[in-house]
């Protein structure tokens, strides 16, 4: 990309006085708050996290001023206080966030101070994980482009956090997809105490991206209002007109410590601390206003006085605002699920021809894509001619729905999920399905986005629901070894905010997928890949089948013992139960959970009440597996019904070996379930 010129639209001499005044006022308000924030902590009122922005004034003013509410999308980082003000937030709102009040527009006191957001204006709620919102900005820009809007998605961060791998994923993806997104890098030379030379070899990290094909790199002086305004305006023009990304690096200084928990005296010399203060952008702006006679000193002094009064009033109002209610902690953990009217229990009596598990998924995906035009799916190997997904689950979708709705993602799982999150921020009507990884085993790189997405709804105090279904081919029994056999639901279940389903029959797979795709919120949809083609998992599937979340299904009724299971082991448990019945040993009830979160406690406890004995079976490791939670639950709420200890069958605490001999020694099988069940019966 050749070095294009940035036009000088804004200059000290030509910018209208009214504009200059507005900027000055915003900068003064911002600085007053920046300097006042530590007082709230000293007085134990709150604002225990504050990262002062002083020294970044030019670029932050420019980002905020170039953001159009409800049209553009903005992702700010923890230092972006002036950005928020310049984008329209009031000083009162900033204080409400600072002291974590219930009326804080960013999160209602749920998220850290200095994490500013106003989702109703598209100022999005962001994580504390540095740079993680770059992926969201890319996802939103994908939606902007898809829906043909003339808008831009802006992400802002410091220079050190560009080191995060996902930032490279984000910029690479925006470049590849030619998306209207501006990545602003506010370069203050440090990541807390670490000088930027310890992050990357180039002095200017933006130049690491100079080989990108579509990305335009712009450098500006972030300490200078005019240079920053010109750079930002040009970045926006370019991103929108060319539909291409821009990386804007703004040279700033950090006039203070990183935050109130840092002390820069420990690592910066006197002279350095002095000259960064000499480079105060606000002081420079004031000097320019006076030097070029755009304002008289008295005029500026008058504004200074007005700002003082405004801050006083905002402080008073914010202090009087209500605190969050402790009883509200359960609000917005999960989004609203789709409610099935026809199949409230997720059961049906349809007869006819059986459909394979994989076909049920494929047909449901297609049916939902026909039903809702605002559905999208991407993942690795998602679409190329006759190939549709690594296991061909999405076969034929690109041909039918086009490559704007069905497309390949890069080999970057975090990007796949992060941009799904970002795209769903664009509009509530959007539903995204991602093949989160080709195998559940490769989902780990996406964990930071998974965690972030899991609590987006809670963090934004109910204002943003990521409406995303993550599909993952899971589990073993295919001779795949330790990278094609993992069960990760035990680890994932420890993270609140995600529904986790794990069907074991075709009809339940179809019904749960439909429910996921019609619901709000994040659903982890686990597919036991060993069952895709297995005739055992094939069932009759009603065309419109729906299975609500949190409804287990009794797959075999019995009176002597309850087996609680899901996924691959549902079938092994049914086989073991059959054998026990055939041998006249016992009549075993098999409960297929279908949903792990939310969990159908009622069906579990009702069954145990009847059988008085319980065996928990899953494919994942016993130690640390989801069965531990099931046992604990039964112990707490069903102990009185039990005539024998709770027993568990699952994998040993080892990886899964590749040689079939090793795999068989590790994964649970019919015999192990049979033996454990028999022991319980005989107890």
């Amino acid at each position: 990309m050749k070095d294009l010129k940035v036009p000088k639209q804004y200059t000290i001499k030509k910018t209208p006085k009214e504009t200059l005044e507005n900027w000055y006022r915003l900068m003064k308000i911002g600085r007053a708050l920046d300097e006042k924030a530590p007082n709230y902590l000293k007085q134990a009122i709150g604002w225990s996290y504050h990262a002062p922005y002083a020294g970044h004034d030019g670029i932050q003013l420019a980002i905020g001023q170039n953001f159009e509410q409800k049209k553009d999308h903005l992702y700010m980082y923890y230092r972006d206080m002036l950005t928020a003000l310049a984008g329209g937030m009031t000083s009162e709102e900033i204080i409400l966030n600072g002291i974590s009040k219930a009326t804080d527009p960013s999160s209602g006191g749920r998220h850290m101070s200095n994490h500013l957001a106003k989702p109703e204006w598209n100022m999005h709620s962001v994580s504390s994980a540095t740079g993680n919102h770059t992926l969201h900005a890319v996802g939103t820009a994908r939606a902007i482009k898809y829906y043909g809007e003339k808008a831009v998605s802006i992400s802002s961060q410091g220079e050190s956090s560009v080191s995060e791998g996902y930032v490279y994923e984000a910029i690479t993806g925006a470049d590849k997809e030619e998306l209207p997104v501006i990545f602003v890098v506010q370069d203050n030379g440090y990541g807390i105490s670490v000088p930027k030379k310890d992050q990357t070899a180039q002095r200017k990290v933006a130049n690491n991206f100079s080989g990108y094909k579509n990305l335009r790199i712009i450098h500006c002086n972030g300490k200078d209002v005019f240079d920053s305004m010109n750079a930002m305006a040009e970045a926006k023009r370019y991103a929108i007109e060319e539909s291409k990304p821009v990386l804007l690096q703004a040279n700033c200084v950090r006039m203070g410590s990183h935050s109130n928990s840092d002390d820069h005296l420990l690592y910066r010399s006197d002279s350095e601390r002095n000259y960064v203060v000499e480079y105060d952008p606000l002081a420079k702006y004031r000097r320019l206003l006076l030097r070029y006679e755009r304002f008289a000193e008295e005029e500026l002094n008058k504004i200074d006085e007005e700002v003082k009064l405004e801050i006083k009033a905002s402080h008073k109002a914010a202090m009087a605002a209500p605190d969050p209610d402790p009883a509200s902690i359960y609000d917005h953990v999960f989004s609203d699920p789709f409610v099935s009217e026809k199949y409230p229990e997720g059961l049906h009596n349809e007869e006819g021809e059986k459909t394979k598990f994989i076909t049920a998924l494929n047909e449901t995906l297609k049916a939902e894509f026909r039903h809702n035009p605002d559905t999208f799916i991407w993942g690795q190997d998602m679409a190329n001619k006759d190939k549709g997904g690594i296991f061909n689950v999405s076969k034929g979708m690109q041909a039918e729905f086009g490559e704007k709705r069905v497309f390949n993602g890069p080999i970057a799982e975090d990007f796949i999920l992060g941009t799904a999150n970002g795209m769903s921020r664009y509009d509530k009507k959007i539903r995204v399905v991602v093949e989160g990884a080709e195998f559940a085993d490769y989902f780990w790189p996406a964990m930071e986005q998974y965690v972030d997405t899991s609590h987006d709804l809670w963090r934004s105090n109910g204002k943003f629901s990521p409406n995303v279904t993550i599909r993952l081919a899971s589990g073993g029994y295919i001779g795949g070894g330790m990278y094609h056999s993992q069960n990760i639901e035990g680890s994932l279940a420890a993270i609140p905010g995600v529904r986790i389903v794990y069907p074991s029959f075709a009809d339940d797979a179809a019904g749960l997928l439909r429910t996921s795709m019609r619901s709000e919120g994040l659903t982890m949809f686990m597919e036991p890949k060993a069952l895709y083609q297995d005739p055992k998992a094939a069932t009759v599937v009603p065309d419109d089948f729906e299975v609500p979340f949190g409804k287990a299904r009794v797959r075999r009724e019995g009176s002597d013992l309850t087996i609680i299971t899901y996924g691959n082991t549902t079938h092994l448990s049914l086989d073991a139960a059959k054998k026990l019945a055939e041998e006249g040993i016992a009549d075993v009830e098999v409960v297929d959970l279908r949903s792990l979160i939310p969990l159908d406690e009622e069906t579990i406890l009702n069954s145990i009440k009847k059988t008085n004995k319980v065996l928990v079976v899953h494919e994942d490791k016993v130690f640390g597996g989801f069965g531990g939670e099931l046992s604990a639950l039964i112990n707490e709420k069903g102990f009185e019904y039990l005539d024998a200890p709770i027993k568990r069958v699952g994998s040993p605490f080892t990886p899964v070996g590749f040689n079939r001999i090793l795999e068989q020694a590790i994964l649970p099988n019919k015999e192990r379930i049979y033996t454990a069940a028999k022991e319980l019966i005989e107890y």
């Binding site: 200059t11 000290i12 001499k13 370069d187 203050n188 030379g189 440090y190 930027k196 030379k197 180039q202 002095r203 200017k204 130049n207 002086n221 300490k223 200078d224 040279n251 700033c252 200084v253 950090r254 350095e272 000259y275 960064v276 000499e278 480079y279 420079k284 000097r287 320019l288 030097r291 070029y292």
Partner: protein
């Protein structure tokens, strides 16, 4: 006779040293020193030839005293003035010395 000014900040180290050497070479009658921190249009209009001297700060930026004068400089009629620029450290992408940030 055309007048020459050498303009640099009196608060600098290296710029100052270089300027002093240049003045000594020209002879004090030929060249006048001007403090860049007190620069304005009127001062500049008094001279015909200039030697400007500025260190680069913050990855290739001008120090404020220069930067804040630039809007004026841009509008001046400099056609008949000659302006050699001595830039000690301007290396936009790979500065040799880096003090901060």
């Amino acid at each position: 006779m055309s007048k020459t000014a050498i303009i640099y900040s009196y608060n600098t180290q290296k710029s100052k040293k270089v300027a002093e050497k240049i003045i000594a070479a020209f002879g004090e009658k030929e060249i006048e020193a001007v403090n860049a921190e007190e620069l304005n249009k009127e001062v500049l209009n008094k001279y015909d030839n200039f030697i400007l001297s500025a260190p680069t700060w913050f990855d290739g930026e001008l120090p404020n005293y220069w930067d804040e004068f630039v809007p004026d400089l841009e509008e001046m009629d400099l056609k008949r003035k000659s302006l050699p620029f001595s830039d000690w450290e301007i290396r936009k992408d790979t500065p040799r010395i880096f003090a901060m940030p």
